[in-house]
């Protein structure tokens, strides 16, 4: 055993607070064994933007699926066995050559977990939440998403129960790709709407 094992790094204040709450709740019998590890594993490995990418690829390949997806996002997404918390009321908004969609939550951090996983830090921090509803064209450009001046921007503030997924445009030159190859092209950012493909 190395000497460092005898002297682990001191806990940070945040680690101490988390450990304190966990210890007290465990003492009260409120934390089932393995619960924390299991929920963490699920969010780290089972959900994430790879799920949304499958939905997008399917919509690109299957016009009838796309129609169902735009008409009832929740049901069409459930066809791919996706759903659950923060995905019970899904609305899918479609990018076109003339329209760009982008999603934000100004009041907290609402995000469609089943299709995109947990939100990245920048989505939850004040700069994005303050600016995306005030100056989306400038902010998108700053984030590397330059839109032609005549392109209409539709910002969706997830302030109630609906969660939004952006359906990006299918990039040109992808005519011969398989569904799984297409899914590999779809980035998280393109489904939030801070990038185009």
């Amino acid at each position: 055993m190395s000497s460092s094992a005898h002297h682990p790094a001191p806990m940070s204040p945040m680690e101490r607070r988390v450990a304190a709450l966990e210890a007290l709740l465990t003492e009260r019998g409120l934390v089932p064994e393995g619960f924390i590890e299991e929920i963490t594993r699920r969010y780290e490995s089972e959900i994430g933007p790879m799920n949304g990418a499958k939905v997008v690829a399917r919509a690109w390949l299957d016009p009838q699926y796309k129609q169902r997806l735009l008409a009832d996002g929740t049901a069409a997404i459930a066809e791919l066995d996706l759903g659950g918390a923060e995905g019970d009321h899904m609305v899918v908004v479609e990018n076109t050559p003339a329209i760009h969609n982008v999603v934000v939550c100004t009041l907290c951090s609402c995000y469609p977990w089943p299709v995109l996983g947990l939100p990245p830090a920048w989505y939850k921090d004040p700069p994005y939440r303050t600016r995306m509803v005030r100056e989306p064209r400038a902010l998108l450009a700053e984030m590397g998403c330059l839109l032609p001046e005549e392109m209409e921007i539709r910002v969706w503030d997830s302030s109630a129960e609906v969660r939004y997924l952006v359906l990006p445009q299918r990039p040109p030159g992808t005519e011969n790709m398989t569904e799984s190859e297409l899914a590999g092209l779809v980035t998280r950012d393109s489904m939030i709407g801070v990038a185009r493909l």
């Binding site: 607070r17 007290l24 830090a121 921090d125 109630a160 129960e161």
Partner: protein, 208 residues
């Protein structure tokens, strides 16, 4: 509550620290904090409104200088204390130092939820105006659209009103609408071709 969380359109926060990909949790404690909120919310049967309001009540300087999972931990601890699962002094003793909790609810408790709204009052294409109000409790009506006129673009389901559920066991159900606002009318800055869509409960709206 005109709280620090109501950030839409506020200025001076600088650049977005964008990264195209990142770990789901940056530190192991973030994952544990997140799971503990699930534990506490389940144990005390907290509604979504009560959970969100417990974050909104954080001391504003703390809110702005801490990340999302510190918000969740603060919410979990605050709800645990408010519902009697643990005490603040137990938390500080166990943590061996300060354990900041959120501030008290400043709105009165809601005993009477008022009547449900079973049918949408508005349809797609209707012009509506957001109430120009300042409720002291939890609300999902963002400040930046209050008093502004917009157009209903979608009628969604019937949902529990957060303003009610955050403040007691009473519930009221109302339709929500997606309402489209011209960004130039909201900010009076002449920008063009930008539409802001905000999802709003029926009682946030008046005919326009």
């Amino acid at each position: 509550m005109d709280g620090i969380h109501d950030l839409g359109g506020r200025q001076g926060f600088g650049a977005v620290a964008h990264s195209p990909a990142e770990p789901v949790f940056h530190q192991p404690w973030e994952a544990r904090a997140r799971a503990l909120l699930v534990v506490v919310a389940g144990a005390v049967q907290a509604s979504g409104g009560e959970f969100r309001h417990s974050i909104e009540r954080m001391e504003p300087g703390h809110y702005l200088t801490s990340g999302y999972y510190e918000h969740w931990l603060t919410a979990a601890a605050t709800l645990a204390v408010e519902h009697g699962l643990v005490t603040g002094s137990e938390l500080e003793a166990s943590a061996g130092g300060r354990f900041p909790l959120s501030g008290p609810v400043i709105a009165p408790p809601v005993d009477e939820a008022g009547p449900d709204v079973g049918r949408p009052r508005f349809g797609v294409g209707d012009r509506v105006r957001v109430r120009d109000w300042h409720p002291p409790g939890h609300t999902r009506c963002p400040g930046y659209v209050r008093g502004k006129a917009g157009t209903v673009v979608r009628v969604d389901g019937i949902y529990s009103v957060p303003d009610i559920e955050a403040h007691g066991t009473a519930r009221r159900y109302e339709p929500t609408y997606s309402v489209r606002f011209d960004a130039a009318e909201v900010w009076r800055d002449g920008q063009r071709g930008v539409w802001l869509h905000v999802d709003l409960w029926d009682s946030y709206l008046e005919p326009s």
